[in-house]
């Protein structure tokens, strides 16, 4: 069924501020195939796609469309060739109908007026051809995310696109909606449309793809034909065998059950079903790692524990005392929380280090009557700067202008000024440099050695193995696997998170 080559990217190089992101990457899509693109976070998948769609310019290399070299300078260029990108954050306009969205800006006209009859007819023809479960005259407002995504696809098809790029298309879809999408993808393939399918979800890739390109550290790791796509092989290739044998990719876990329980979570269930019936304990002095794919519900669980979101059911106790679900109550009870999205949730960019560090600690900063003691506040800030080596060390420096690593130290540093019983960190080292990473790990380890219970949510497998004493893996809102007092490897965690049993993976 797969025919001639439709798109070929050859010897692609790209670097950002001197850091190579893509090196000598080859990527080829044939007519009428579903070609999956996989790789860990930061492997270069999105950079490659952005080069193909003209968002970034390549440093070196060549892109050929149907055998002829082409220059893609912007998204319009790529649309003209017949490439459509289906964004997960959809660009459909809710108050308009399906047909109006599909032909937005390209409406068939009679004189100055839109020819609605013709527009609806053209849309219906497309719908019939690919058997989409849509009607041209439905107002988008009434449709679910899955159907909205189909409109995006229709839009692409209406421009005679021969190649659709889908980036994590099922990320926000329900099971049923995903099934619908898979059927459509099959139909499109039968009609000769090519699809680049980017996903972290192995099971979808096994089911759908004709071929699979795996990137690792900005280089081609493998191109696998359909019969070669075996879970174990894919995971191995994504992580890299070489890495797999090094110290960072396997670890003997040890946890001490005799230490008293600090946090006890029983039957925690989300109101919008992002996680359900979550029960686990964390002991004093233990670092509990949470593994799993992005969107597995880990962030939602820790947010509910800390009380940012209210759970529909379940109970959280800390040192035997029931916690009421609010950040303020959690802080008073001895919980610290470092959120996932540092820039938007972690700190106040306009304020100084001092005021950011003090923000959660005004209950312990000295006061003269109503007035905060500026001296004591400054003193606390200086202690935090010293404890965690924040740079610049000027306590009056606005946090918004610091580097990511130092911003994270400010976010973390404020919790070190309190008597903590539990520290929750969500993606603690995302986007920060190696030096600062190590410093953050040693702070987590030091806290644990002082008896603080620590929960680390991370999508970085190396980090998960490095810091955890025990690991829980979540998948689609459930805890699916616990690794405890056993040898764990990156592949085992990855397999559990993707819903592949280890036997299957072998």
């Amino acid at each position: 069924m797969a025919g001639s080559t439709i798109l070929e990217a050859k010897n692609i190089y790209k670097s950002f501020s001197g850091v190579p992101v893509l090196q000598d990457v080859h990527f080829e899509v044939k007519a009428g195939e579903v070609h999956a693109l996989m790789g860990e976070n930061g492997a270069g998948k999105s950079t490659l796609i952005k080069i193909i769609t003209g968002v970034y310019s390549k440093d070196e290399g060549q892109i050929e469309w149907e055998g002829k070299p082409v220059e893609i300078r912007n998204y319009q260029d790529c649309q003209k060739l017949g490439v459509a990108c289906i964004y997960q954050e959809l660009s459909v306009i809710p108050p308009l109908t399906v047909a109006q969205n599909v032909f937005l800006g390209r409406e068939p006209r009679i004189g100055p007026f839109i020819n609605y009859a013709k527009m609806n007819k053209m849309t219906q023809e497309l719908i019939d051809r690919y058997q989409f479960p849509l009607k041209p005259t439905t107002v988008v407002d009434n449709l679910g995310i899955g159907q909205r995504q189909l409109i995006e696809i229709l839009k692409g098809l209406s421009q005679n696109s021969k190649l659709l790029i889908m980036d994590e298309p099922t990320a926000s879809l329900s099971g049923k909606e995903a099934e619908m999408l898979f059927k459509i993808i099959q139909k499109l393939r039968e009609q000769g449309v090519s699809i680049i399918y980017i996903s972290h979800r192995l099971e979808e890739v096994y089911m759908l793809s004709d071929r699979l390109t795996i990137l690792r550290d900005g280089k081609n790791a493998a191109v696998l034909e359909k019969e070669e796509i075996i879970p174990a092989k894919v995971i191995e290739t994504m992580i890299g065998k070489v890495v797999d044998e090094s110290a960072g990719s396997r670890k003997m876990l040890h946890s001490d059950d005799s230490a008293p329980v600090a946090l006890d979570v029983k039957g925690l269930t989300d109101a919008t079903d992002r996680f359900r019936n979550i029960s686990f304990q964390v002991h004093k002095g233990e670092i509990l790692g949470f593994g799993g794919l992005i969107g597995a519900g880990r962030t939602e669980v820790v947010r509910a524990i800390y009380g940012i979101d209210k759970a529909a059911a379940g109970e959280v106790t800390l040192d035997g005392k029931k916690l009421s679900p609010s950040p303020k109550a959690s802080i008073r009870a001895g919980i610290g929380f470092v959120p996932e999205d540092r820039r938007n949730q972690g700190f106040i960019p306009l304020l100084s280090t001092t005021k950011n560090v003090a923000l959660t600690n005004y209950d312990i900063v000295k006061k003269n009557g109503l007035a905060i003691s500026d001296g004591d506040e400054l003193d606390m800030s200086k202690r935090a700067i010293q404890a965690i080596d924040i740079r610049p060390s000027d306590p009056d420096k606005q946090v918004g202008v610091m580097s990511g690593g130092n911003q994270q130290k400010v976010v973390l540093g404020k919790w070190l000024m309190r008597d903590l019983k539990l520290l929750i960190v969500d993606e603690p080292t995302a986007g920060i440099d190696v030096g600062a990473k190590d410093e953050i790990y040693s702070i987590l380890e030091k806290l644990a050695s002082e008896g603080v219970a620590v929960i680390v949510v991370t999508s970085d497998l190396q980090e998960l193995l490095r810091v955890s004493h025990r690991i829980l893996v979540m998948r689609k809102g459930d805890i699916v696997r616990e690794f405890k007092n056993e040898e764990v490897t990156q592949s085992k965690v990855l397999a559990a998170g993707q819903g592949v049993t280890e036997e299957e993976a072998k």
Binding site: S17, K328, I331, Q345, I348, L359, I372, V401, S403
Partner: protein, 327 residues
Amino acid sequence: MKNINWGKYSKPIILVVFIILLSILRPKAFLSLNNFSNVLWSVSVIGIMVSGTIFVFLIGGIDLSIATLCAFSAVVVVEVTHYLGDTPKAVAIGVAAALAVGLLAGLLHGIIITTFHIPAFLVTFATQSIFLGLAMVFTNNKIVSCTVPAFTAIGSRKILGFPMPVYFMIVIAVISWFVLRKTVFGRYVYAVGGNETAAAISGINTRRSAIMCYMISGLTTALGGIVLASMTQQASSSTGAGYTNDVITAGVIGGVSLLGGEGTVTGAIFGAVLMGLLNNGLNLLSVPSTHAGLVKGLVIIVAVAFDAMQHADQSRKKVKKVKKAQA
């Protein structure tokens, strides 16, 4: 020259240049205690109001109902005083009633904005009309006057050469400065305005903070209305007309960011005084009122441009820093 942050000093520079200019051009009229006292008297109502409304600006909100709430509270103090027999005690109750109206209005704003997540400008745009309507209803759309000495004293009695409202302004500004600069609540206000999500995750009750800010704003607006009514010895639905603009302008000239998280009371009071000096100067220089608006607009642009320069300066520094870190 490169290292001087002109934005930071823009306010004092503008002020000094302006004062020198006027001193040279109109030494006798300008450089007198009486004139100085007049300038302060004329800006005192705006100063009182902006000292409270700054709380709303700081959390990234806005209050478009300032002028009509000012009118409504002016009407309330005058009408209540009349109703209770124009005695000094009646004045006291009238003042208390007007202040209560301001607090309630703020409470209402805060609750509607935070409960239904409606943008502040829409809510206060609507209530602006409600307050105007109330002021009209209470006065039958007429001007009501009040010449009770205990009442007129609020706006015009002089102590040590300065009229009472100037002292009110100073006291309110100092309280506002203290709350913002020294108390935990003040710290929370800047945090909520700077990053509401991060503030909430830090355990701050962002909703309660916002409601309190609107209440403070309502209270000072009502106080401004009382003082204004006392100064003019009357109240009507048009008392304080134009004050919404003036208060916002004073804040903006004073470097208060309408996006929230940035600004000081000293800056806002400076903004108010600069506006007063400007009016006074244009008056002394016999600039016809037809041209005054033009000059004021230009001065506002210059002041705000200096602020923008300061910000551009900071982001340039940040880019440099990031580049250095990457290298």
